[in-house]
């Protein structure tokens, strides 16, 4: 076999995991253009505006990154439980609980320095969010309640509790026409990154994704979680503490979402109020599935989804397209990503065949199978 042919096959093997994603992206674009064109809307301009609004200027980049920052964390809320085989979609509720906890903590504690208070707020937010999602995991393990539905119901309940507390017992009497909790003192507000307009939540979100990836790939618990997610019976047979691992994964996911809530409160709003509930939890679901539950890919996907949402404003103003355009695009993307997964089975067979024909090629470390 010639070296070039060998190289070509090696490239082909390493590219196979990407192929479903590429097909999905092109399928999405095609359907989107078709959808707009059938209605007589300028499809080509729309696509170019989406790109321009997402990545076309430094302003666009700031916009995109600003929107991506909470998505990094709320996507982890879906990706981490997915590792143990659970589909949890209650990130919005965990974000609400976390944001509320972070917003009211300073009013219960003495005025510490920001170096103490901010980690304390983060911890409170992570505990609140973690407990909320761990509850879903516990309900599943001890009562067999499906976690998708229970996480969604708990999310609705969390939002109701949040609204009740923010507009009732925890309300700041001075916040009249926009009921909020007591505003955070200036010292505890999180500043933007130097030279940019995006707040530190972006960096911490990215770090969290990296930490999650390292944890899942290289730690014993992470590996154990992968086994639980792959085949629970095997995990039990091997003696892994399935319940504990499951709860841990859920708690970590919920903690990430709670942390997102804390950043929204401390960096954007300055207090907890109903504007906090902006659907970041639900967008995080899309990001996690687009990234096929891989924390590193979540960083990329969060930026892409953030970009799509950022471009919505431009589409409205320039082409008079409704705001739901980005929603349609996201829906098409999600559907395509899942549908094209079907070919990855065939591709795996193809990959195997190629590997067999070139027995001397060093195989790249194959990726763990995704949910």
């Amino acid at each position: 076999m010639t070296p070039t042919r060998r190289l070509a096959i090696r490239l082909g093997i390493s590219a196979t995991p990407l192929l479903p994603t590429l097909c999905a992206l092109s399928g999405t674009l095609l359907l989107f253009v078709l959808f707009l064109a059938l209605q007589g809307r300028p499809a080509g301009e729309a696509c170019s505006l989406i790109f321009e609004g997402a990545f076309g200027s430094s302003f666009a980049w700031q916009n995109t990154l600003q929107r991506a920052a909470p998505l990094l964390l709320t996507a982890l809320c879906v990706a981490l439980p997915a590792r143990v085989g659970l589909i949890v979609i209650g990130g919005e509720g965990a974000l609400a609980m976390g944001g509320l906890a972070a917003a009211v903590l300073p009013s219960w504690l003495p005025p510490w320095s920001p170096w103490l208070m901010l980690p304390a707020m983060a911890a409170a937010a992570m505990i609140a969010g973690g407990v909320w999602i761990a509850l879903c995991g516990a309900l599943r393990q001890w009562r067999g309640v499906n976690e998708t539905i229970s996480s969604l119901l708990l999310s609705y309940l969390a939002i109701a509790i949040f609204k009740h507390l923010v507009e009732g017992p925890l309300r700041d009497p001075a916040s009249l026409n926009k009921p909020s909790t007591l505003p955070l003192p200036d010292a505890y507000l999180i500043n933007p990154l130097p030279g940019m307009e995006v707040h530190w939540g972006l960096v911490w979100g990215g770090l969290a994704c990296l930490a999650a990836w390292v944890f899942l790939r290289h730690s014993v618990s992470g590996f154990a979680m992968a086994i639980v997610g792959g085949n629970v019976r095997t995990a039990r047979l091997v003696g892994l503490p399935v319940n504990r691992l499951l709860l841990l994964a859920c708690a970590m996911g919920g903690a990430a979402a709670g942390l997102a809530g804390m950043f929204e409160v401390a960096a954007v709003h300055g207090s907890a109020n109903s504007a906090l509930l902006a659907g970041y939890g639900f967008s995080g679901i899309l990001v996690a599935f687009a990234a096929r539950q891989n924390p590193l890919a979540i960083i990329v996907c969060a930026i892409v989804i953030g970009g799509v949402e950022a471009s919505g404003s431009l589409l409205q103003r320039r082409l008079d397209l409704p705001d739901a355009t980005t929603l349609v695009l996201q829906g098409l993307l999600f559907c395509n990503l899942l549908a094209w997964e079907a070919i990855s089975g065939r591709l795996a067979a193809l990959k195997l065949r190629w590997q067999e024909t070139t027995p001397n090629t060093a195989l790249p470390a194959s990726e763990a199978s995704h949910v």
Binding site: N63, E167, L176, N177, V268, L276, A278, S313, L314, R317
Partner: protein, 365 residues
């Protein structure tokens, strides 16, 4: 031939230039941005702004850009920045209350040359930057008149009010409506249901049905989109008073009158001030007298007596001689909130902190 045409063109342009202020002709059109929190055609709050924006669009030298369904998060900051940077807007109207703190304030500090006229906010001297302004209308004057009509027309003496949240702007409306009705008959009660959010159609329909089951025969509301409530009431043969914009088309049989915004008045003032280079108007409030708010035309069922009483009071308001909140006024828990002899004029800041429901209102804050 071409020389003469060119000459005519030149003289024509010169004449026009002499007629208009010179900087208007030389400048590019003023780009004005409007930001709505919900759908533009919701028959309610956002529609009232969009209707006024459509009228502003017709002014010469004005270019209007709009964006709807912008949530009260960083998204609105980015929208405002995009309007400034990508479309060159120099005057922006963020129309939802929740945009003010911190979003409008942050953008105002970042772009001191751009004017931001916020609807409903409370601009305070010394606390807020000078390129921000807040405007609002004293729509409770119209609510008072609505209450008078409702009080006349109601047979069961029970009125219904469906509100989103118990915030001061809403409470002022409930109280004014009730006081107006009670000026006709002191035994009238208003039953209030809070739905919890600005746009919850199923809850609003349920609330309407619940209140009608209770025996109320006139409904009004303070939610973002009154369409569902008005239609539900019309289906059950109940009379309605509208809010935000005119819902008369939705309830041909039962529509009495309504409290409408007339945003085009403050909009025009602010836009003119910008065009003429005058300083930003920081605090703009007005009522019926200043044409910031208006009443919907009376429906066919409204009795002559009701019309007369309402018009009488309206004339007093237009002359500046009528105050709604003059004591003694008790709240529905029995405490005195406005003592006898005290009158709170519309511009009194205490009213912006209202946190009670007057006696005769069945419900809790």
């Amino acid at each position: 031939m071409t020389h003469r045409r060119d000459f005519l063109k030149l003289t024509g342009a010169a004449a026009l230039g002499a007629a208009l202020p010179l900087d208007l002709l030389a400048a590019t059109p003023l780009t004005v941005g409007f930001i709505y929190v919900g759908a533009r055609d919701d028959f309610g709050y956002n529609q009232s702004h969009a209707q006024a924006a459509a009228m502003i669009k017709k002014m010469p030298g004005i270019k209007v850009i709009e964006e709807e369904k912008v949530p009260e998060t960083v998204a609105v900051q980015k929208t405002m920045e995009a309007m400034i940077m990508q479309d060159g807007a120099s005057l922006i109207f963020p129309t939802s209350f929740g945009y003010f703190d911190p979003h409008v304030l942050k953008i105002a500090e970042k772009y001191p040359k751009v004017r931001l006229a916020h609807c409903g906010g409370l601009w305070t001297q010394g606390k807020h930057p000078l390129n921000v302004g807040s405007f609002f209308g004293y729509i409770e004057e119209c609510e008072y008149l609505s209450g008078i009509v409702a009080g006349h027309m109601s047979k069961s003496k029970k009125l219904a009010f469906i509100a989103a949240k118990p915030i001061p702007q809403v409470l002022r409306n409930i109280n004014a409506f009730t006081l107006g009705a009670q000026s006709v008959n002191p035994a009238i009660t208003t039953h209030v249901i809070f739905t919890g959010d600005w746009s919850l159609p199923v809850k609003e329909a349920e609330a309407a049905n619940s209140l009608i089951d209770q025996g109320c025969d006139v409904i009004t509301c303070h939610v973002d989109g009154p369409k569902v409530i008005v239609e539900t009431a019309e289906k059950r043969g109940i009379m309605t008073c509208g809010y935000h914009a005119s819902q008369a088309a939705l309830a041909p049989k039962g529509y009495l009158t309504g409290a409408e915004w007339n945003w085009v008045t403050p909009y025009t003032e602010i836009v003119k001030a910008t065009l003429e280079g005058k300083p930003m108007i920081n605090f703009l409030r007005g009522g019926l007298k200043d044409n910031f708010v208006k009443m919907s035309p009376y429906g066919a069922v409204v009795s002559a007596a009701a019309k007369k009483k309402a018009e009488d009071i309206k004339a007093q308001m237009l002359a500046g001689k009528f105050q709604i909140f003059s004591g003694p006024i008790k709240d529905n828990k029995g405490a005195v909130v406005i003592p006898a002899g005290t009158t709170l004029v519309q511009t009194d800041v205490t009213l912006e902190k209202m946190n009670y429901l007057v006696a005769g209102v069945v419900g809790q804050v």
